[in-house]
Amino acid sequence: MPPAILVRDLKKTYPAKPPVEAVRGLDLEVRVGECFGLLGPNGAGKTTTVEILEGILAPSSGTVELLGKTWARDESALREAIGVSLQETKFAEKLTVLETIRMFGSFYQRGRPPEEALAAVGLEEKRDALVSNLSGGQHQRLAVAVALVGDPELLFLDEPTTGLDPQSRRQLWDIIRSLRERGRTIILTTHYMDEAERLCDRVAVVDHGKVIALGSPQELIRSLGGDHVVEFALKNVERATDLAPYLALPSVRGARPEGEAIQLTVTEPHVTIPALLDHARKHAAELSHLSTRHASLEDVFVSLTGRHLRDE
């Protein structure tokens, strides 16, 4: 069986005053039935990549195959096979939820009944509400329902949860999980690392139009060398520039400055912390802050690029 998606050396340059190289040689392979995440900061090229995969944007160069087919040869078959939720579609305000789903459903040879797509996203009670009266989260769920109504083998969701409140995000996560359980292949873009960690079987971390890391969230986190992060700050030390003493502490796998503080990637915090306290005492330094947490994809991104996914 061919992979759900195969991308080789994809490049896209937008013609602008200085041309924008949005995608610069990207490779991907997505397996059938997995939920695959594209994780990256604003402007990384996620939407550009996804819209090329969806066949609504032409690449500058490179090859794209979906389910063993290409857009050039099998456009109509591929259109039937994919479902799409764009980053920022606003549906017609004066149609109701059901009318919108039904209209999109009519474009497909074989689709799911509109009512079923509606139920899949839990919007039954908004069935006859005008689109203009939906909340942000409901509108996003409608977008997912519209993506589902053609009963696609391959589902593209571009930042489905951006801008939603935590409760709406959780609702959408449940919907996406249940889709994966039904054996759909899902490509999800996001810049929320927790979302990617929870939902995706595998994640490609994208930065400046390239994949800079690939693997399951656990693999990526493990690549840091430790599952935990110990963060501390010293009161009377101006700014720790020399990280070597901390790297020498037991069970520490990595160290990096984080503002005024220092973050250590460690395998066993209960071993590192007493050693860290000893070290501070020996150098007459006082801790102003100490915390530990599980390492996340955010830490992976920071360790790879020195930047955060979202600049807050």
Partner: protein, 344 residues
């Protein structure tokens, strides 16, 4: 069944988008009727104005007064000699008579109503003094439906409505969908682009039937407008016009990403035709040098053809040149629009 028919679903979406917006319904159906009512009243045919005559108090004023009969359209009043200049200047009277054996007429010869009054006052005074007219004239009054301003106006309003309906209903709506990323979302489905276009045009056609019927029915009901030619021909012209202005709307909308852009473009296209194509007044008022240009505009051809059928009962053959102009605009703009159209 129709639930799974994409053309039908797209058509329904267009219609729902229309009839669920009361303000749009007003602009399409209500506004032309309001214009017809307003302009019809403002320019209605009035009974000829009364002739206001001032007679200066003094010897013989009673006798002079008796020479004027209200039946003949005179409105006479006595004034003081000192006031006569003022009354004339303010237009309260059209003419002043100073009675005497040789009465004096005071009036401003540059004012048409004063010149008219002079002739009428002269005749009244002469007859009162004993003149006998050698000839008695009979009058046959010919203000008939078909020759009034409202008759001129209603076909023009039809044309205007067909134009703005095509530009707003197609051009504006499409750019709005583009700016909402809805067009992009639609082409990510197996939807046929031809279905999308056909549905938008079909919805326009259905609305045009309503627009034309309503305005003509209203014209008949309120202003006794009579359609001299064939109804079917009027409708066919309206369809042709709707098609052409849909094409122009599509062309205007083919690349614009923002609503502001398309609104500006549409005004740029419509304003010259509003003014020159004979909506509110005849396009023949413009100088001869620009006439070939004006006559080549689609709205001029549409308005002239509609007037010819509605007011003169013209047949299809006589209107072929105008039909050709309208059709050519439609064809050319459609081809260009489809060529340049930007879906995402």
């Amino acid at each position: 069944m129709s639930d799974r028919n994409p053309f039908h679903q797209l058509f329904l979406a267009r219609m729902r988008d229309f009839y669920r917006q009361p303000e749009v319904i007003f602009w399409v159906f209500g506004f032309p009727i309001l214009l017809a009512v307003g302009l019809g009243i403002a320019f209605r045919e009035k009974a000829p104005d009364e002739i206001a005559v001032g007679i200066v108090r003094g010897a013989g004023d009673e006798q002079t007064l008796a020479a004027f009969d209200a039946k003949d359209g005179f409105k006479v009043k006595l004034i003081d000699a000192a006031d006569s200049e003022n009354e004339l200047r303010l237009g309260k009277v059209a003419i002043v008579v100073v009675p005497s054996a040789e009465p004096t007429l005071q009036f401003d010869p540059t004012r048409p109503e004063s010149v008219l009054a002079r002739a009428r006052v002269d005749a009244a005074l002469q007859r009162a003094a004993g003149r006998v007219d050698p000839l008695s004239l009979r009058e046959d009054l010919v203000t008939k439906p078909g020759a009034r301003y409202i008759d001129f106006l209603i076909p023009g309003l039809l044309g205007m409505n067909i134009m703005s309906g095509g530009l707003w209903g197609i051009g504006f709506v499409i750019v709005e969908m583009r700016s909402r990323k809805l067009l992009k979302r639609l082409i990510a489905t197996p939807m046929k682009k031809s279905h999308f276009m056909a549905a938008a045009i079909a919805a326009r056609m259905v609305l045009v039937i309503g627009e034309v019927t309503l305005l003509l029915f209203f014209g008949w009901l309120v202003f006794d407008l009579v359609i001299q030619g064939s109804w079917a021909f009027v409708m066919a012209l309206a369809f042709l016009g709707a098609f052409t202005f849909a094409g122009i709307g599509l062309l205007v909308a083919s690349r614009a990403r923002k609503i502001e852009t398309v609104s500006g473009l549409m005004n740029l296209v419509m304003m010259p035709m509003f003014v020159t194509s004979g909506v509110f007044f005849s396009s023949e008022r413009f100088p001869d040098v620009v006439q070939p240009l004006i006559q080549a505009l689609p709205l001029t051809a549409l308005n002239d053809a509609l007037r010819a059928v509605i007011l003169e009962g013209a047949d299809v053959t006589s209107q072929l040149p105008r039909i050709a102009i309208i059709g050519a605009w439609g064809l050319v703009t459609f081809v260009l629009a489809l060529r340049f159209f930007r879906w995402n």
